[in-house]
Structures are given as structure tokens and as C-alpha cells.
């Protein structure tokens, strides 16, 4: 056992954990669950699951189009989810919240609709530390339109390399699409500063906030982004829902993406006209119950306090960085101190492949992620094929971090490195 250290967290972890029944599960061989994979998907509190259950069993109906009492209840519940999400991220208007199926669809929506006005000679700027979901949609948009994809590099210590910013951002730059918090390195990027420079050259700024919205208070009204994406299942909400926030004026200027019911104004066989945002971008029956669940999720987080959650993440990351540095042969990918560091740490363990690290930890109930974490380019940047990632959330305890550190010691001894 590593020496006990202290963690200063504003959260009452025991009472938080009591809301997440899965955290008391016992796994194979009698080990308790040590869930260190929240950057992949967060666990759900009872409150969210109860909201889903109550919706399905008492208020279920289709929305908007349904004129009866259940329809009115379901519509109020769905649109109530939109109100809650708007308030949660500081959106000036509820009509700026578009519900998608996940962050990936939100980013594809951005790439398709902004892509509609791209042409050869135009440039789209991303970065080497993006999640695949903020790379591939822009690659496809550039293929469709003949625009050119450029990117920020990553420095040796895992930060965006901003030294090239003045060459990268020019009057040819139409879109700058960046992650706020790297899911692989944990790096928090200076979005506001980059957005200012991007706007100065007339580019539209798209922010992948999939790892940001779960972790700290977000206020889109002051951030400087034009579009921002995140995903429900990482903010203690359901799977099957994501969010695209957009400045209303921009959304109103964008063409439709998916076509179908609800996104239309008038459909004639010979051609159709489209509804105003957000409906324009919500084709078909939307994720109704999921919006209800997401509303309950952001209510839950707000009840705890996003500032407290951010402070807890900060403490636990610091605690984990310290602990991991005591493991022989362990190299941290990305920033090695807790400054501007989100709640995920990726690392290599000399002599053991990350999958093998993960499997051995798993036999002790410790759930981490191994692989490229949907961010292959940044792994290539560091000359590695994959890594092991531990990630934390509002329910993560220092004891769980200790279990990880001890577990890594066991991995080393199992593979005869210690």
C-alpha cells in the first residue's frame, strides 16, 4: 500500500457515491469496482434513471406533433430538457440548443453545414490532439469540397503548439475546430485566445467540449465559440443524446443536414422549405426520453455544483499525477503537472503493452482504458501506438487512485519487471 496522502476536495464523496449504485458492484474474484474510465463514459446517478423510468411509464408520447395531454406532457418534458441544457452552458437562448445523437453527430452536423460553403482554396484548421470525431468529419468535408485541412501540432509536453498560429490562421481559414480538453492527454486548451485570433481572420470557431462540459462550469456566452459540441453519456446522462450549441445567427444561416419529419416547414413533392433552428437540425423523432434524462443529469450536476466538481477533479488529478510518478518505468503522456489538466491521464508502462496493463488491472476490478482512445494521431505524435488511460469524475476517491497505483505495482511484478 502506498503511503496515505490527503486529498482536499469540496465534495462529500460518500454521499455522491451513494447516488451511483453501480459503484458498489462487486466484480469477478470479489474485487469491488474501481471505475477509472469516466472520460470514456460516466456512470449514472439513480436520479437520472428514475427520470427516464417516470417518463416512459407515465408521460411517454411523441412530441410537437402530438396534440393530446400525453403529447403535451412529453413535449414539455423534452423542451424542458432543452431549457435545462441551455441554462447549464449559459446559452443566451434555448433555441440555440440542438439535440443530436452524440457529440460525433454534432460535429458532423457542423462539418456538413459549414462545409456546404467551403471551396477549393479554403482552409479548415484542427489539431493533432483531436478525437477522431473532430478529425474525420473535417477530412470528409475537405474531400467533398476541395478545401484543405491544416492542423496545430502538439508540443513535447502535450500542449497545443501555438508557435505557428500566425501562419496557420489566415484569410483562407474558414473554420477552426478544436477540442477544449484533450481526452487523451488531459490538456486544457486556451480556447478563448485562439477564438479571438480565429475571428480576426473571419473564421468560424467550433469547439469540441465533450471533455470540458463534464468537468467545469461552461459559459458559451463568453467563450468566443460559434458552435460547441458535447455528449450526454459523459455528463452522467443517458447514451443516445448529444448537444450542438450554436450562436443563433449562425445556426439560422446554415442549411439543413438530415431531412425528415419535424425539420420542415412545407413539404411538396417538388421541393421543401425548412423550419427555423433548432427544429431545422432535428429530423425525425428526437431523443425524447434522453433529453429528459439529460435534463435530470445537468440538474444533478448543478445540485452538486460544477465549481465543486471542477475543484474535485483538479485535486484528484494532482493526487493521481503524484501517485503515478512513484511507479517505476511509468511515463506520462501529455502535461505532467495539474495546471490546465483535465481529469484524464494517459501513460505508458515500460515493458508491458497497455492492453496487458488494462487486463491485469481489470482482474483486480480496476477499469481503465487501453488503446489510442480514439486519438490515434496524437499517439503517433509521441511515437507510441497506444497507452493506458485513467480518468476521474465527481465520484472518484483517493482510495481508488491508490488502488490504481498499487495495481500498477502488481502489473510490474506479474510481468516480472519488479
Amino acid at each position: 500500500m502506498t503511503d496515505a496522502r490527503t486529498l482536499s476536495s469540496p465534495l462529500d464523496l460518500q454521499s455522491v457515491r451513494a447516488d451511483f449504485p453501480i459503484l458498489s458492484r462487486e466484480l469477478a474474484n470479489g474485487f469491488p469496482l474501481t471505475y477509472l474510465d469516466s472520460a470514456n463514459s460516466s456512470q449514472k446517478p439513480r436520479q437520472v434513471v428514475q427520470a427516464l423510468e417516470d417518463h416512459y411509464l407515465r408521460h411517454n408520447a411523441n412530441v410537437a406533433r402530438a396534440m393530446h395531454q400525453l403529447g403535451a406532457e412529453a413535449t414539455a418534458a423534452y423542451e424542458g430538457g432543452r431549457d435545462k441544457v441551455a441554462a447549464f452552458i449559459g446559452a443566451p437562448s434555448r433555441d440555440e440548443i440542438v439535440f443530436t445523437k452524440n457529440a460525433s453527430e454534432a460535429l458532423n452536423l457542423a462539418a456538413h453545414t459549414l462545409g456546404a460553403s467551403l471551396k477549393p482554396g479554403d482552409e479548415v484548421v484542427i489539431s493533432e490532439m483531436e478525437h477522431h470525431s473532430n478529425i474525420v468529419p473535417w477530412q470528409l468535408a475537405c474531400e467533398r469540397t476541395g478545401a484543405t485541412l491544416k492542423w496545430f501540432g502538439v508540443t513535447e509536453d502535450g500542449r497545443l503548439d501555438l508557435s505557428t498560429i500566425d501562419e496557420l490562421l489566415t484569410e483562407r481559414t474558414k473554420v477552426v475546430a478544436l477540442t477544449w480538453v484533450s481526452n487523451a492527454l488531459g490538456t486544457i486548451n486556451p480556447i478563448a485566445d485562439i477564438a479571438t485570433k480565429a475571428h480576426a481572420v473571419g473564421a468560424t470557431v467550433v469547439v469540441d467540449a465533450s471533455q470540458a462540459v463534464p468537468q467545469f462550469p461552461v459559459d458559451v456566452s463568453t467563450l468566443g465559440a460559434d458552435l460547441l459540441a458535447f455528449t450526454g453519456h459523459k455528463v452522467v446522462g443517458p447514451t443516445g443524446i448529444g448537444v450542438l450549441w450554436g450562436r443563433y445567427g449562425l445556426l439560422a444561416s446554415l442549411p439543413p443536414f438530415l431531412g425528415g419529419g419535424e425539420m420542415i416547414e412545407v413539404v411538396r413533392m417538388t421541393g421543401s422549405t425548412y423550419a427555423a433552428p433548432p427544429a431545422r437540425f432535428e429530423a425525425g423523432t428526437p431523443p425524447i426520453a434522453q433529453a429528459v434524462g439529460l435534463g435530470a443529469a445537468v440538474d444533478y450536476l448543478t445540485g452538486i455544483g460544477m465549481d465543486k466538481i471542477a475543484a474535485h477533479e483538479q485535486s484528484i488529478v494532482e493526487y493521481a499525477l503524484e501517485g503515478l510518478k512513484t511507479v517505476p518505468g511509468l511515463t506520462i503522456l501529455g502535461p505532467k503537472d495539474a495546471t490546465d489538466h483535465g481529469g484524464a491521464i494517459s501513460f505508458e508502462l515500460d515493458g508491458v503493452h497497455p492492453h496487458d496493463v488494462a487486463t491485469v488491472l481489470d482482474t483486480r476490478g480496476i477499469a481503465v482504458r487501453a488503446g489510442h482512445h480514439c486519438a490515434r494521431p496524437v499517439h503517433e505524435r509521441f511515437g507510441v501506438q497506444s497507452s493506458t488511460r485513467a480518468s476521474f469524475y465527481l465520484y472518484t476517491t483517493p482510495e481508488e487512485v491508490e488502488a490504481l497505483v498499487d495495481g500498477l505495482g502488481f502489473v510490474r511484478s506479474f510481468f516480472k519487471l519488479a
Binding site: 406533433r65 402530438a66 396534440m67 403529447g71 403535451a72 413535449t75 412545407v266
Partner: protein, 152 residues
Amino acid sequence: MQLDSLYQEIILDHYRSPHHAGLAEPYDVEVHHVNPSCGDEVTLRVELDGDTVTGVTHHSVGCSISQAATSVMTDLVIGKPVAEGMATYEEFLELMQGRGNVEPDEEVLEDGVAFAGVAQFPARVKCALLGWSAWRDATAQALAAREGVSNG
């Protein structure tokens, strides 16, 4: 949820013989608004003289609530300054969104008070607002067009 509070006689009267129905010439701006979730449609024309609403005519396809509300709206705005019409709209909107807890002012809303019951039928609120949204849009466009001319 009382039916009679929704379908007041005044509403059914306006529905059966809507005021200012039939698109008239001349006009400044024509708009076409739709309630996409149910398909109600209104084509509406406005004519302004300075800041005064001189004419509003419409062709509407839709339910009793949407047709009657459009009819009542024309009575409320024609002959009034644009600003007054907009203020009346705000008051009507407040009534509609009040879920039955707002006391309507008959001085301002005239026949519009008959729609107080609609507020208890959330699915029908959009119907009552369709004509108003068309009028606001058309009027805004007419004002903008005039600005464009006088500035240009």
C-alpha cells in the same frame, strides 16, 4: 381542461366568418407562415402608412383557434401604430403562456380575451400565435424595406 372555456362563442364566430379574410391589393409585404407540427398555414399581407398599420389581410387554412386568432388579430392592429400592435402582441403572448394564471385585460385585447382558455391547452397555444407571428414578421420586413429605401 374545460371545453367551453376553449371554444368560446366569440372564437367560433370569428372562425365561421373571419375578418379581413381574402388577400387584398395593394400591400407592402406578403409572408407565408406555417405551423410545421400540425400543418396550419397562413398567407398574410400588410400595408403600412408611416408607422401606422393601414391594412392586414390573410388567407388561412387551419383550425378554429388559429383562424379565429388571426381574425381577432387583424381587428386589434389595423388602424393602430405599429408599436401599439407589437405591445398588444406581447400582452396576448403573456396570456397564452400563462397556463391560465394571467388575467386578460379586455381594454387591450378586446375579443382576444376569449382565448384565455387556450392557455390551458399547451398544444393549441401555437395555433393561437400563428397569425400574430406572420403579422410581426411581415411588419418587420415592411419597416426594414422602408429603412433600406430612405437610407439608400
